[in-house]
Symmetry: C2
Subunit: 410 residues, 2 copies
């Protein structure tokens, strides 16, 4: 089998962990598999480098930041290669450039455009374990780019796709994908299997265990993903095309606190107004999530939507500048909110999921500000202060009560 493994920063944070991961990689290799491993920077390295950069120049350019930050992953793969050599196995480390990871030209949050796997394949043919620096690529000018948060997952999935790997294992510091964040929801439990679509919804909704783009990539190229712990031998969560039907019709719950809402008040009711607003934001590369349009007074309407907290300032500035072109009377925003979502493929065929969720929130005395639904998810915006309590209330209503019902059948 050809297996691509990805290890996050906490999995390689110190020498002891590097050696433990080296052991895991060589165990896989020893069983007759070809292995490619994608590594993140060690522990706090990236944060330390950021700090160093900003202390030299608080407005450090993205090109130079990419140049600086990419050294963290390069150090990781070199050290891992040394550790594997120490265990008596052949290994070779590659930077993003050497691994042929070509990206878009933006220096930050660049997207993988294509992978030229020539060098990786050559090293695999030589029976080497191949270690690839995650999080980085090279653009058409030959400059180093960073692929944005969670990009090591994406690199792993993309490499698995291009090599036609049998399996892509994402090693992390938790044992798999959970029905909710275990740090927030005390009754959260590990999910055995998930479909790509369910995982996509969970990932995009703020379940940080796996980057959205890595799931998109795996889905598109039919690569089976497994999320598991680098610290235990527990089986983890499988993410694949089709899953056997599980007992619950929702598979998980996610809380996203990195969200802010913007409302435009008193828009003239004319065609194309929504297009104007959202194409403006798209031009600024600001992603918009939940959108709510409501009838205002005097033949006007209001539009509310959410953006990432980090984009709020830029979004407000862009909208203010275009105030006359768009034509609104007032603009308000709220950064003190959170998005709570439940996800599940079984949801579409189970009416009453939404009302069950709203009931749980109502019973807990939590106010809902906005609602958005799709085939396999329901999201609500609530006050950020209520987020953890809301997550526990909704999670328990779905999972603990199902268990109870399930137990009653026997």
């Amino acid at each position: 089998m050809l297996i691509v493994q990805k290890f996050g920063g906490s999995s390689v944070a110190d020498n002891e962990r590097v050696l433990r991961v080296a052991k895991r990689i060589t165990d896989t290799y020893r069983q007759g598999n070809k292995v490619v491993a994608v590594l993140s920077a060690q522990g706090d390295t990236t944060d330390d480098l950021y700090e160093k950069a900003y202390s030299v120049n608080p407005n450090a350019s993205k090109r130079e930041l990419a140049m600086l930050l990419s050294t963290g992953e390069q150090q990781s793969v070199a050290l891992m290669s040394m550790a594997i050599h120490g265990l008596g196995y052949p290994a070779v480390s590659l930077t993003g450039i050497q691994a042929g990871i070509y990206s878009s030209s933006a220096h930050e949050n660049a997207r993988i455009r294509r992978i030229e796997p020539g060098r990786i394949q050559t090293e695999l043919d030589k029976n080497n374990i191949v270690l690839i620096a995650g999080f980085q690529g090279v653009n058409r000018y030959g400059d180093i780019t960073t692929l944005g948060r969670g990009a090591s997952d994406t690199t792993a999935a993309a490499i698995a796709a291009v090599l036609g790997a049998d399996l892509c294992e994402i090693y992390t510091d938790v044992e798999g994908v959970y029905t909710a964040d275990p740090r927030v929801v005390k009754n959260a439990r590990k999910i055995g299997e998930l479909s790509f679509d369910e995982m996509l919804e969970l990932a995009s909704l703020g379940a940080k265990v796996l980057a959205t783009r890595s799931v998109e990539m795996a889905k598109k190229y039919h690569v089976k993903l497994v999320v598991r712990s680098s610290f235990t031998d527990a089986p983890g969560t499988e993410i694949k095309e089709e899953c056997k039907v599980e007992n619950t019709f929702i598979s998980g719950l996610a809380v996203d606190k990195d969200v802010a809402s913007i409302s435009l008040i008193g828009l003239r009711d004319r065609p194309g107004i929504a297009f104007r607003i959202f194409s403006l934001l798209a031009k600024e590369r600001i992603s918009v999530d939940i959108i709510l349009q409501s009838i205002g007074r005097d033949n006007t309407k209001d539009i509310s939507f959410t953006v990432a907290k980090s984009d709020l300032k830029q979004a407000l500035a862009a909208l203010e500048t275009a105030k006359n072109a768009i034509g609104f009377t007032d603009i308000t925003h709220n950064a003190g909110i959170a998005k709570l979502s439940v996800v599940g493929a079984g949801m579409a065929s189970n009416p009453g999921v939404a009302s069950k969720m709203f009931e749980a929130l109502s019973d807990a005395g939590i106010n809902i500000m906005m609602i958005s639904t799709s085939e396999i998810k329901i999201s609500v915006l609530i006050d950020a202060h209520d987020a953890d309590r809301a997550a526990n209330a909704v999670h328990d209503r779905f999972f603990m009560e199902n268990e109870f019902e399930f137990a009653e059948k026997f």
Copy 2:
């Protein structure tokens, strides 16, 4: 003017120094010059990375060491670029690969084979200050190589050569080239001008202020070198084709303690014996310095020579293995020695330099083990314990007494 500047690790050790160097680089740029700066890794970075490597694997491979160590210089150039941006000037950082520095394939102590200055030239044409990671190159397999000790000097000189630069400034933590190491010889003084040949002899003899290969490169391509301090505005030492005749006929003195001697005893006196010994060592990539051949007893001879201390073990092993093929009865070695040399273009036309040196050593009661001379230098091997005392005695005999003679003329 096109000026190449090189800053060593101590010059960029912390934020404050990075900003000071940024100031110096932009001052040069602001005066209307095009500037390329080659940087070493910050302070102890390289040592820290070595330590990290060896704690993971005491026999870390050279390929992976190069991969790891090269990140130090990459971080330096990225941070410097950010600092220069902060001062309001345009700058761009380049790795060895990006700067087109192609080296031999050895991963350690690789030699620069050629420089493809396309990217550097493009950035200079855009009026950017160009910052290049020293100490590193890329071999024909696309792997990162390190160029060995002092290689940032060499990179700077090579880039200056290939760009046809007007000047190559080597910034360091001393004010220039001294008549002897000021930490050892209390009366050492800064030399104003030196010829390439004199500097070459001084550098190869252990005056660590400038790497030998950088001087060779500058001489070959007629690049004027200036060695000066990054901490003061003192003028430094100029190294160029022709120097005005100075008052003294020796220009400097150097002590090298990284030296060990090996003696092969009872060699059969047949043709080609020296060739056998030294081609064997050349194959092991061990450089041999002073060679002394003497008549032994019974139609045999002895050969003694010196190697770098770090090569001693390997040299002894290689010679032992080839004992029968070479044909010697005994092998001895001494790692407790030092090489003391005086250098000067005026020496050839001034007989009596050697005897003056020997007299100074004799007066100080220091025994000479081996002697080697050339047109512009005299080296002696002495006991390592005597090295510093010998350096002071010889230095004072040449420099202090000349001054006295000189003063007498008035």
